[in-house]
């Protein structure tokens, strides 16, 4: 073993993982550890500093680190770093590129702790890099079974960190704790049967001594849940079923036995409020996604924001955005905690095209305003909640509804800047023809009950970054992309927002005006959200695009 790893060593190691076919390997997880690397080249002290719950709570005191999926518990995806700012952003330059070697979409948001960057790639790969150079420290490859069929690619959106472990949810529904220094598996628990369509793609959230994670599988008739595992042992501490069983409140909102296969997955990362000790976790579509026949009722708690007691997983309140959804409008967008004067709010730019602001102590709706092209609702109920028009329901022949099946937004992480008090959301104007396609339920098989098509009469798709004022629901500015993007958004104290586009550009904009200040062509479409960190007093902005992670900084 030479003193440091090189690309060939990495290639050899990667190949050996796949030689003989994935199905031939034992289901045991594999990892690669680059001995000697730490000792010879890393001058950054990774120390033995543990990422305690206190550090996660007070993440703003260490702006050089990015400790959760959204950067902090509030979900604002706001970096307090301001070295890169509106006056020097035009000089930004690429610092390093790390090629994951994986194929498919890269949706990860990296974490950075004390000079080490932790991220994931497709097919449940996790890795640690020197955050200044992009050189690998370790790589872990989960052995993904050959017969998984996740709906939307072999994707993963990132890790959580607590103590000396990072936590990974896998496509075959495992929750795995990896040692931060080696990538060694510390524990590995199975949450559900992947054969029935359960999987994880979400970045977990570490709260207190718990790893909180929500399941995917709304396209398979799963019964959704949010789980919490003991970070030290992997023991499950609580589970909240997002579809209530017999005798539980909300059960009456499901027709017959439809609750058993009711979906309501929880596949995007929630947020946490320490003052009220509540975890806010959003849920997705009822199953089957576009056919309401057979599941009459509101279908609680699908397309809902849940406020759960962090210690017990008991529900304090809920707010359902889309009742009895028939358009696949998962409400899984990150719910962002915003304080405005003495108002304690939580805001979400929802896939159904409305921007919602709620009181986060009670779940009471404060406002709901359209931020994209919508045709499904033209009225509101007594609480101010948009109500679906009857004729918006899919039919056998199909008819056009806006937004389309991909929604006004989707999993793209939003951002909120306390400097501008603006909420930044990636948005899409697209209408689809929704048509039902009756389909029997069969365990582990796709269960859509529907098909959607581009509408021949519809306008071309349009994609935007929109700056929404949560106080009024109005749009402060709009940056129109050449085509719709799947990129998330980062806001920074340098007065900037960063986003990516479908054509491969990484873009810095003035957070106040939306004026584009700088861009870099990365050569691959963006499906991830940016983040920021600093090492040795130098700020970096990082994002995944194509099959690589890119880091940018000042010259």
């Amino acid at each position: 073993m030479t003193g440091r790893p090189n690309n060939r060593a990495l290639e050899r190691a990667s190949e050996s993982l796949y030689r003989g076919g994935r199905g031939d390997l034992p289901r045991r997880a594999r990892k690669i550890f680059f001995t000697g690397f730490l000792a010879c080249t890393l001058l950054v002290s990774t120390g033995d500093a543990q990422v305690t719950f206190e550090r996660l709570l007070n993440s703003s005191k260490e702006p050089q680190n990015w400790l959760t999926y959204s950067g902090d518990y509030s979900g604002r995806r706001f970096s307090p770093l301001d070295q890169i700012n509106i006056t020097n952003a035009r000089t930004l330059t690429a610092k390093w590129v790390y090629q994951t070697g994986a194929t498919g979409k890269l949706e990860t948001t990296p974490l950075v702790v004390d000079g080490i960057l932790y991220a994931t790639a497709q097919d449940d790969r996790a890795f640690a890099l020197d955050a200044r150079t992009g050189r690998p420290v370790w790589m872990y490859q989960h052995q993904v079974p050959a017969d998984i069929r996740p709906c939307c690619g072999h994707v993963n959106r990132g890790l959580a960190i607590l103590g000396d472990k990072v936590f990974l949810g896998t496509l075959d529904a495992h929750v795995i704790a990896l040692d931060t220094k080696t990538g060694n598996v510390v524990w590995d628990v199975v949450a559900a049967e992947y054969q029935k369509g359960y999987s994880f793609t979400v970045a977990p959230l570490a709260v207190k001594n718990l790893v909180v994670i929500g399941v995917s599988g709304g396209e398979y008739g799963v019964r959704g849940f949010v789980d919490a595992y003991d970070a030290s042992t992997g023991a499950r501490k609580w589970r909240f079923y997002t579809v209530p069983g017999p005798g539980e409140p909300g059960h009456e909102t499901w027709e017959g036995a439809s609750w058993k296969i009711g979906g309501a997955p929880a596949w995007n990362t929630g947020t946490y409020d320490a003052v009220t000790n509540q975890i806010f976790w959003p849920t997705g579509n009822p199953s089957p996604s576009n056919r309401g026949a057979g599941r009459a009722g509101d279908n609680l708690f699908s397309n809902t924001l849940l406020a759960l007691n962090a210690d017990t997983g008991k529900m304090n309140w809920y707010f359902q955005f889309t009742k009895h959804d028939e358009h696949d409008w998962d409400a899984t967008q990150v719910p962002v905690i915003i304080d405005s004067g003495n108002k304690h709010l939580i805001a979400q730019a929802n896939r159904n095209g409305f921007f919602y602001v709620l009181d986060r102590a009670t779940g009471k709706l404060i406002s709901a305003n359209a931020y994209g092209k919508i045709t499904w609702s033209d009225s509101k109920d007594a609480e101010g909640r948009p109500v679906a028009k009857k004729e918006a329901s899919p039919t056998l022949e199909g008819h056009t509804v806006c937004p389309g099946a991909l929604g006004t937004t989707n999993f793209m992480a939003p951002a909120f800047s306390p400097q501008t008090s603006l909420f930044y959301a990636t948005a899409r104007d697209q209408c689809d023809i929704f048509s039902t396609a009756p389909q029997p339920y069969e365990a582990g098989h796709a269960y859509y009950g529907s098909a959607y098509f581009p509408s021949e009469e519809a306008e071309p798709y349009r994609g935007f970054l929109k700056a929404i004022d949560p106080a009024t629901g109005g749009i402060k500015w709009t940056f129109e992309h050449t085509s719709p993007t799947w990129s998330g958004v980062l806001s920074t104290a340098g007065g900037l927002v960063f986003t990516g586009d479908a054509e491969g550009n990484f873009i810095a904009l003035d957070a106040a005006s939306g004026k584009s200040l700088w861009h870099f062509q990365m050569g691959g479409a963006v499906y991830a959200a940016p983040m920021a960190f600093a090492v040795d007093g130098k700020e970096y902005v990082a994002i995944a695009a194509g099959s690589a992670v890119y880091a940018f900084g000042l010259p």
Partner: protein, 292 residues
């Protein structure tokens, strides 16, 4: 679809365990033969119930391109034609649905952003459905292909912009394969209403053509106006071709003006310019080339 737009093809696997190597080989051969035999036969052939189930699967997985009722759409051929370009037997159809057709937009099972990947059983149901809607008469061109070729390269001026089998212009889409992948109605429609299909909103990954042939008009910093088609574009740059087939590589912020329109540069061929009969002949020519 909940999370995003694409999926992956499941990998079929088989396994067997035995201590004796010879027996293992024999079992493997037996397994392989059974496996191949199983793949050759449609277990649901002519089964109306399977065809009905296949129709649902078809709507979810195939209709985006091949149209409701399998009559063909903007990008996918009419599958009710008994004569298909790439497949004849059910077994070939199974392979094509499972693995896609390289060099075309036909994706492998589960990778097209519609549906999440079908099981073998579901694929056989779809094949049963397609067989049930086939019109048994062989597809035949409605016009005179030889005259259509004369028109294409002559009086109808198609070849000024379109290339077929290496001959013709570059500004419009290459049309060698179009007769095999589009319905006659779709080709006729795109000649009579050239702008209509530009407005089709298709998912980004599977556009009708690699380019959409939007019309771009720019005025450069020097004041020169350039009008042409977009070859590619992002937020900051555009690559375009003018009607003289010159390529321009432009940075948007250096332009005096930039306008994009979904009105096609292609002239509208009304019946007084190209009669229905002559258009039928051009379509017959394109089908005679494309169905090869």
């Amino acid at each position: 679809m909940s999370e995003t737009t694409t999926g992956r093809t499941p990998v079929r696997q088989s396994s067997g365990k035995t201590a004796l190597p010879a027996l293992r080989v024999a079992l493997l051969i037996l397994a392989l033969v059974t496996f191949l035999a199983a793949d050759d036969r449609n277990p649901f052939a002519n089964n109306p119930k399977a065809a009905k189930a296949g129709e649902s699967e078809f709507r979810i997985n195939c209709a985006l391109c091949h149209g409701l009722g399998a009559h063909g759409g903007g990008r996918g051929p009419d599958l009710t034609r008994a004569q298909k370009k790439h497949v004849h037997s059910d077994a070939e159809m199974f392979q094509v649905i499972s693995n896609g057709i390289p060099g075309t937009v036909m994706p492998a099972n589960g990778t097209n952003g519609q549906g999440v990947g079908m099981t073998d059983e579901e694929i056989w149901q779809i094949i049963t459905y397609i067989r049930s809607v086939e019109v048994k008469a062989p597809a035949h061109a409605i016009g005179n292909a030889a005259h259509g070729k004369e028109l294409f390269y002559g009086d109808a001026n198609c070849s000024l912009c379109h290339m077929v089998e290496g001959k013709g212009g570059r500004v419009g889409p290459e049309l060698t394969g179009v007769g095999g992948s589009r319905t006659q109605e779709a080709i006729i429609d795109s000649v009579r209403n050239p702008s209509r299909r530009l407005a089709w909103g298709l998912t980004e990954s599977t556009k009708e053509f690699p380019q959409e042939y939007e019309t771009i008009t720019v005025i450069t910093a020097e004041g020169k106006q350039i009008k042409g088609i977009a070859l590619n574009e992002d937020n900051f740059s555009v690559q375009m071709m003018d009607s003289s087939e010159n390529i321009y590589l432009l940075e948007k912020d250096k332009l005096r003006s930039f306008k994009k329109s979904r009105e096609s540069l292609m002239p509208i061929y009304k019946p007084d310019v190209l009669s229905d009969k002559d258009l039928d002949d051009v379509v017959a020519y394109l089908i005679s080339v494309g169905a090869k």
